[in-house]
């Protein structure tokens, strides 16, 4: 396990590896509010494989606390929604949890007959030294169904690292183990798209229109079987998140599948992603269809956005997604005529930060310290009109009566693609013009100077 972790920490496609002082991804600082663990990251990346069983080997907390915490949707099977855990008790901590793990795997097989079982290690099972690899190997043999160890206990590091370890797992155990019934010259994989709020479905609608086929969804709304044959794709698109870049790189090395990083947030990014796919598929006719589609969609978009423009124009936003989406969402907001006055970068990689810088002006503040204090300071000093961030910061903003839009994994609205951008415009416009802000900023009638207190 150590070797895998070190390798993931030193991912060569992650540019910090060229920086002597930043040999490995940053570690969290004790005593500060911090984000999820590696186990969390690994689970986030793999859980959307909807027909597989996801068994958390550890005490109850790791599974109980994360169970159903994300908005990845499935169009079919729902086994991924079950909170499955070995729920280790004290005696197993002392005598080891291997026996219970084997039994649990058996109970899953008999009850649900899944196409695969992912077994997640956690801090505790890594510490007590349960041999996950060996058990999974034996159980695979016993049941004739892949039982896959996910070695990413929480203490090895951050969420991003865990995602990367999940990528390693897919590469090592899943991809390349089966072949698709048919292939087409237009087969691509989406990597790192988790179908939050059904975003993937809208992306698929776009791709369908020009005849690009998603061969494997890695992993939003994914099925185990389709990921096994992912190595037959002609192009890999890494969607937004760099955390799974290692997977794309390895697939390029081993299977010569070219990859690129793109995003579907905003019309510009969506268009350029479509163009890149067509370009990499090296098909003139497809490129023509893509151009047509982009023009048509942009025309519609322009028309639909007209009514929101007056509300959105020139409004100042502080963007704090606490993750890697920052750069792509910036473009989307700018297309809506808004000004991004500050961006959170505390979880972005160097590359992400470079992309952020490409997109914003010199006086945009980069907030690199976590914690609500620094975000609020940015909102105040930049006189921002609203904040766009993840759930954990939402309630802080609301205490300060700052209009807020939730953008992270718990959201129920899809913001990807052209449709997503319209939806984003609509929601931001609604957020900004909601009457509650007038109410919130008016003093109560018995106060002195009864009027707006801003």
């Amino acid at each position: 396990m150590r070797r895998q972790v070190l390798e993931a920490l030193e991912e060569p496609a992650c540019e910090h590896s060229t920086n002597e002082n930043l040999k490995v991804c940053a570690r969290p600082k004790p005593g500060q509010a911090s984000g999820g663990c590696s186990f969390d990251g690994a689970q986030i990346a793999l859980l959307p494989i909807a027909d597989a069983a996801h068994l958390v080997h550890g005490p109850l907390g790791c599974s109980g606390n994360s169970w159903e915490g994300r908005g990845s949707l499935s169009s079919g099977p729902h086994l991924y929604q079950y909170g499955l855990t070995t729920d280790l008790k004290e005696s197993e901590i002392i005598f080891g949890g291997e026996k219970k793990l084997r039994e649990a795997i058996g109970e899953i097989m008999e009850r649900f007959s899944p196409p695969a079982v992912f077994v997640y290690s956690t801090c505790v099972t890594a510490l007590i030294g349960d041999d996950l690899e060996a058990i999974c190997r034996e159980e695979t043999r016993k049941w004739g169904v892949p039982v896959i160890p996910v070695n990413s206990p929480g203490f090895v590091g951050s969420k991003n690292l865990g995602t990367r370890l999940a990528g390693e797992t897919l590469f090592q155990y899943v991809i390349g183990t089966s072949d698709p019934p048919e292939t087409t010259p237009y087969d691509i994989n989406l990597i790192g798209e988790y179908n939050i709020a059904g975003e993937m479905w809208e992306i698929k609608e776009l791709l369908d229109k020009v005849g690009i086929r998603i061969l494997s969804r890695i992993t939003g709304d994914g099925r185990f079987q389709e990921i096994r044959w992912a190595h037959h794709a002609k192009v890999n698109m890494v969607v937004c998140s760099r955390a799974l870049i290692n997977l794309a790189r390895k697939m390029e090395e081993h299977y010569q599948i070219p990859y690129f990083e793109g995003s579907f947030y905003g019309a510009g990014e969506t268009g350029s992603s479509l163009r890149k796919i067509a370009g990499l598929l090296k098909d003139r006719e497809l490129e023509r269809r893509v151009e047509e589609l982009i023009q048509e969609e942009e025309k519609k978009l322009h028309r639909d956005l007209l009514q929101y423009r007056p509300v959105l124009k020139g409004k100042k936003v502080v963007l704090y997604t606490g993750g890697v989406k920052s750069w792509s969402v910036i473009s989307a907001l700018q297309e809506l005529g808004m000004e991004v006055v500050a961006v959170g970068t505390n979880k972005s990689t160097q590359e992400d930060i470079a992309r952020i810088k490409e997109r914003v002006g010199a006086d945009t503040e980069l907030i690199d310290e976590g914690g609500s204090g620094s975000i609020l300071k940015a909102v105040r000093s930049k006189k921002a009109d609203m904040m766009i961030a993840g759930g954990r910061n939402m309630y802080v903003a609301l205490k300060e009566k700052i209009p807020f839009l939730e953008i992270n994994q718990e959201r129920h609205t899809a913001y990807a693609g052209y449709t997503g951008l319209k939806r984003l415009a609509k929601h931001i416009a609604h957020t900004l013009s909601h009457p509650v802000w007038q109410l919130a900023h008016k003093k109560a009638p018995w106060c002195e100077g009864w009027a707006d207190d801003r």
């Binding site: 026996k99 801090c123 759930g391 939806r423």
Partner: protein, 511 residues
């Protein structure tokens, strides 16, 4: 706002022709089971045979209905003024706790971790704890830091007492800075045990700490203490205070997170809101007595107080329903010598009146419920008063003592005859029970929604966590007012269902 642009979402997207077609193709490719097979399996799930198989399950937990110890410890700490909950372990657990509470209370939750990593796993977490304490104190400026552990620190066996001492000696925190701590491994017990351990730790730590202020001591002697227990309802703490005020009783709530987790939007976020004053906690032992509103989430605390504070201590039953609320008022009255005021007597009368209004619709309804032990005892008691039959009572974090107490309670009423108590079981067990032995509705947390949906019964959301409905925690479910709230939640759900299911000829207006 101008008229909205029509934007279809995935609910409508799936109805479009292309999607329907591709779904058909996908069906072919995924080669799912035939409809017949699906129906057969569904029917099999309703059999006793499957239920038995399900209950024979030992190693695998499916859909657990409990949270871990440190989560409870964090909630206990949030009840004290300017106190920062600080969890010694790896970072992920704390991120989970924060989002759990944020999603339930819709509030920001200041809580930090020592972010232990692999090095700490090998060499111990001493450096993390010292550095963490130093950072946390300078960043969040607390008056107290309450340290609990996750399993990682427990497995490697970190010695909190010694570590905190070292932190003081090294000057990371001052000699006098209060740092109570509790060992809260998540592979033992559940969130209610963690709450209890931290509560006990804070109370014993603060006891007598502020020196012998005579004025403070004299004031404390006039008061009683109330401990809420693991309390997911800010409304319950406020309700307890309202009752005490109506009774003209002076009191200290020990662990009052009602302001912290239900703070006003005043335009400026602060890290800390309200909470029990540390000085009040320090003198609490001088009071007339202590009442814990819950019993199972305050066991260790109870033992500590009984052995050390030398004043009467009473725990539970949680004041849900008329009988339990009556008992609470009597106890307060006995402790303080204050009579029960007319206002509360009238309130009681009004709730009884409401119960008589609704009784025809609730009579004989069969329910399933899942939750923490104290809550369940309260809900059983209320159900029996309303003529509702509690049938399946599931308590993942219950023990033998709870089981016996619940059974005794059920045996007291003819409505309790069908009631069965399941401790240590999970929500997949409950699902089996709902399918083999159907009930009219379920009561419990958001996580019950899957089982309820499969059984096609409505869910009345009560307990922790409630993620998918707003503001439930702001309304009390204890006291007469809380009883009224629960009553109206239940009866209106029944009436709602009546309307939904009514054929045209019975779709009427008066009920």
């Amino acid at each position: 706002m101008a008229k909205n642009v029509e934007i279809k979402d995935h609910n409508t997207l799936f109805q479009s022709e292309e999607y329907m077609k591709s779904a058909e193709k996908k069906m072919e490719f995924e080669a799912p089971c035939s409809l017949e097979e699906v129906e057969d399996t569904a029917a099999y799930l309703k059999t006793e045979e499957y239920k038995e198989k399900n209950f024979a399950r030992e190693a695998l937990t499916i859909n657990p209905a409990k949270a871990c110890q440190p989560l409870g410890a964090v909630l206990a700490a949030l009840g004290f003024e300017k106190t920062l909950p600080f969890v010694h372990g790896s970072q992920g657990c704390v991120a989970y706790f924060r989002s759990h509470f944020a999603r339930h209370f819709k509030e920001p939750v200041p809580t930090v971790s020592t972010s232990m990593t692999e090095d700490a796993a090998v060499f111990g977490g001493l450096r993390n704890l010292i550095e963490g304490l130093e950072n946390a104190v300078s960043l969040y400026k607390p008056d107290m830091v309450a340290v609990s552990t996750t399993c990682m620190a427990e497995v490697i066996g970190d010695d909190l007492q010694a570590f905190i001492e070292t932190a003081r000696n090294e000057g990371a925190i001052s000699k006098s800075f209060p740092v109570p701590f509790a060992n809260t491994p998540s592979f033992v017990g559940s969130h209610i045990v963690g709450y209890d351990s931290m509560m006990k730790s804070i109370l014993s730590y603060l006891n007598g700490r502020e020196g012998d202020g005579e004025k403070m001591a004299a004031e404390a002697a006039e008061k009683i203490n109330v401990i809420p227990g693991f309390e997911p309802y800010t409304g319950n703490i406020r309700e307890a205070k309202r009752i005490l005020d109506l009774m003209d009783v002076r009191y200290t709530i020990l662990g009052d997170h009602s302001d912290m987790l239900d703070s006003p939007a005043n335009g400026e976020y602060r890290t800390y809101y309200g909470g029990t004053k540390l000085s009040d906690a320090a003198y609490a032992s001088r009071g007339k007595g202590t009442i814990a509103l819950q019993k199972y989430s305050t066991r260790k605390t109870a033992k500590y107080i009984e052995e050390n504070w030398g004043h009467p201590f009473i725990a539970g039953p949680i004041p849900i329903g008329i009988r339990n609320t009556d008992a609470l008022l009597m106890r307060i009255s006995e402790l303080t010598g204050k009579p029960i005021p007319q206002s509360l007597k009238d309130e009681r009368g009004r709730v009884v009146d409401a119960m008589t209004d609704s009784h025809p619709y609730l009579q004989g309804k069969r329910v399933a419920m899942a939750g923490d032990p104290d809550l369940l005892l309260g809900l059983i008691s209320l159900s029996l008063e309303l003529g509702i039959e509690p049938v399946h009572i599931l308590c993942t974090n219950g023990d033998k003592e709870f089981e016996e107490e619940a059974q005794r309670l059920l045996a007291e009423s003819p409505y309790g005859l069908d009631g069965k108590v399941y401790v240590g079981k999970d929500l997949w067990h409950l699902r089996s029970l709902l399918l083999t032995d159907p009930v009219d509705f379920a009561i419990g947390s958001t996580f019950l929604k899957f089982a309820a949906k499969d059984a096609n019964i409505p869910l009345v959301r009560v307990g922790f966590p409630i993620f998918d409905r707003h503001h439930m925690h702001r309304y009390p479910i204890i006291g007469y007012q809380g009883t009224l709230n629960l009553l109206s939640l239940m009866v209106n759900m029944v009436l709602e269902r009546l309307d939904e299911e009514a054929p045209g000829h019975s779709f009427d207006v008066v009920r």
